[in-house]
Amino acid sequence: MAFVREDLYPAQPAPTQFTGPLAWMRRNLFATPTDAVLTIIGILFLIWIIPPLFGFIAPTFLGGNAVPAGGTVEQCRAEGAGACWAFIAARLNFFIYGFYPVEEYWRPNIVFGLGALLIIPLLWPRAPFKRTNAALFFIVYPVVCYYLLNGGVFGLRSVPTEQWGGLLVTLVLSLVGIICSIPIGILLALGRQSKLPIIKTLCVMFIELWRAVPLITVLFMASIMLPLFMPQGMSVDKLLRALVGVTLFASAYLAEVVRGGLQALPRGQYEAASSLGLSYWKSMGLVILPQALKHVIPGIVNTFIALFKDTSLVSIVGIFDLLNTVQASSSDVNWGSPTQAVSGYIFAAFVFWIFCFAMSRYSIFMERRLDTGHKG
């Protein structure tokens, strides 16, 4: 009996042409001559841009030229100095709280902490008590924040809105903007779908008007014309005017997002709701809206990102939001140096970027999650 091999030969390693980093490079970087040229240009670009950029941004203890926190203005003025992070560190409180009194910083801090505590379980799909959580965040939280920040009750010192500023105002504007515009946006979207001609026309006109004009004209209108519209002797707070403008603007955009969700629902859902004998509001509240809103969560988050970026425009009407505090500090003579303005802009851009990027990732995550469900 000849030899019969009973076990398999051990598998040979795949040819190096097809695995490993070399093959990866061949496939993804040098597949064709054009690709090779593009890759080489790209690498040259990186070599050209990375070292100076790193040198400018990285503080001295990491090998860069930037002046780290705690540095002096002389260091920032020195020849070849990079970004002046010492300036950012010195003005950080102004960028976060604006003119809020220092001894009252604990109040905005509580607002920040409470917000984070409420919003994380709200955004996390599997967290329990969604309904209570939402009620707390959308109704109780704004009220608590208002009294906490504004003061004047329970022995809290009164801090008028003129003293609010920085990141605090940016967050207040965008959060209040989105919280107020969600219900208005839903009503407008329902109105636009309505069969009643007058209601439909009014809603369409409202939505199209605000969507057609730039936010800056809306803010101008709110800050100049709102006082004219009010009865004599009634003054409207400056921050409130901006809030009204931002809310009107955002609710029009949100209405279109919600309308997308309403239109995406199969007709059968509407018919099923009415064949159950539900009234209009019950069929909307119990059947249509829960499904429609769930589908447009990514759209709502995207609207919120746009709103968050757009709040920077309030600096044009003289409110000290994050961007305006940075802009105002960039001409601070105590820290006058060639890189002062750039450092401020990089810092502000970084803060905005962190928020917006995180939200856009969340939006993509929700999109993927919702995509697996049944589709109409």
Partner: protein
């Protein structure tokens, strides 16, 4: 047994529960509330205005403005009237929007396609660009370009010299000014003739392809014919286009075309920002074309360029065009941020300076909003027409 009972009438709901009656009641209520609200506002405004001794009306448009504008497309001096200021602002808005749209489209399509590139490095570059630019407010970017880049440029004497006689310094961008001679108009005629010839060649080539199946190198022939006609036209008519380069004098540049830094910063910022959004539109449009379409085209034996031209691009464009138009609209609206860096566009000149000088808040804001509303409505009218044209006809 044919028992045909009377068809039962639907039970008549009580008057209050009749949906038609209810609908009418609701609408009357809403209309009353809205009219009442507006009446209240109008009453308050009239009261406030009379208390402040302010007049109303559009007569201010024919008053002398008396302020200077740094950058105008039409003649402007301090004796110009307010309606001319309105026109200056409108033209400046349209100028920056037009330039922005052209370049943002080019950049956006390039980056959008680069994001789908099989080259890992190029795709990464495009992704980093889009994710960085999209997540930073436009106003911040404009501040950066204007205050941190252009205002930090060297003074006039130390201007950076770029190729093609372009100079950049604190006061702006200086490019050579084209000076056409008298017969230069004929060049446009030559261009038109060349384009017509190319269209003719393309039609003939397609007919030939359909009749005989033979290909004709349309693109190369067209370039050749076009260049030939253009050169002939220039040679016969003696047309000439001279360039007057900007020249450094003692304190400033003389000659050439001066672009103020506000314009450069705004146009640059708008292009960079909008291109990121256009890139996303383009990417999703191309990805929206089903892979089966590529495979179907390949199995029909279409060449790669024919596959793109006849199958992929037409379908991708149907998805791309609507959001692309709304990006153009966004760019036009965003050009109003030029007000923050001092570019004299509509909001700056009219809703800013004019409003402050005349105090006619309602009229000025209404006119400004009307301009944007008109642009927006015209665009959406175009979009509806386009959507109806390209809509999928399903069985």
């Amino acid at each position: 047994m044919a028992v045909q009972g009377n068809v039962q009438q639907a039970p008549r709901a009580s008057f209050l529960n009749d949906p038609v009656v209810r609908g009418i009641v609701y609408q009357v209520l809403v209309a009353a509330v809205v009219i009442g609200f507006f009446a209240w506002i109008v009453y308050n405004t009239a009261q406030n205005l009379s208390a402040q001794n302010k007049s109303t009306g559009f007569d201010f448009l024919w008053q002398t403005s008396g302020f200077g504008i740094s950058f105008t497309l039409i003649p402007w001096d301090r004796t110009s009237l307010y309606w001319e200021a309105f026109l200056v602002g409108l033209l400046n808005t349209l100028l920056v929007a037009a330039i922005g749209i052209v370049f943002a489209t080019i950049l956006g399509f390039t980056i959008g396609i680069a994001r789908l590139s099989s080259n890992w490095l190029i795709a990464r570059f495009a992704t980093v660009y889009v994710e960085t630019i999209r997540n930073i407010p436009l106003l911040l970017q404009l501040f950066f370009w204007y205050f941190a880049v252009l205002k930090a440029m060297p003074a006039v004497r130390q201007s950076y010299a770029l190729p093609f006689d372009i100079f950049i310094n604190q006061r702006g961008l200086y490019v050579p000014r084209p000076i056409p001679n008298e017969t230069f108009g004929f060049v446009w005629i030559a261009v038109a003739v060349g384009i017509l010839a190319c269209i003719g060649i393309a039609i003939w080539a397609r007919r030939r392809l359909e009749a005989t199946g033979q290909r004709f190198p349309v693109v190369f022939t067209c370039i050749g014919v076009f260049a030939l006609i253009l050169m002939l036209g220039v040679w016969i008519t003696g047309a000439n286009l001279a360039f007057e380069p900007p020249a450094l004098e003692r304190f400033n540049f003389r000659g050439g075309l001066e672009l103020v830094p506000e314009f450069v910063a705004l146009a640059f910022g708008l292009i960079i920002y909008t291109a990121a959004f256009i890139a996303e539109t383009v990417r999703s449009g191309i990805q929206a074309v089903n892979k089966g379409q590529t495979e179907a085209a390949q199995s029909l034996g279409l060449r790669d360029d024919d596959r793109l031209r006849l199958v992929i691009i037409p379908q991708a464009m149907r998805v791309i065009i609507p959001p692309l138009t709304s990006q153009y609209l966004n760019l036009t609206k965003n050009s109003s941020l030029g007000a923050a860096i001092g570019y004299p566009e509509l909001v700056n000149v009219f809703a800013g300076t004019t409003l402050n000088q005349t105090g006619r808040a309602i009229e000025v804001i209404a006119m400004t909003m009307a301009v944007y509303l008109t642009i927006s409505l015209l665009t959406s009218a175009f979009m509806n027409w386009y959507n109806a044209r390209v809509a999928l006809v399903e069985r």
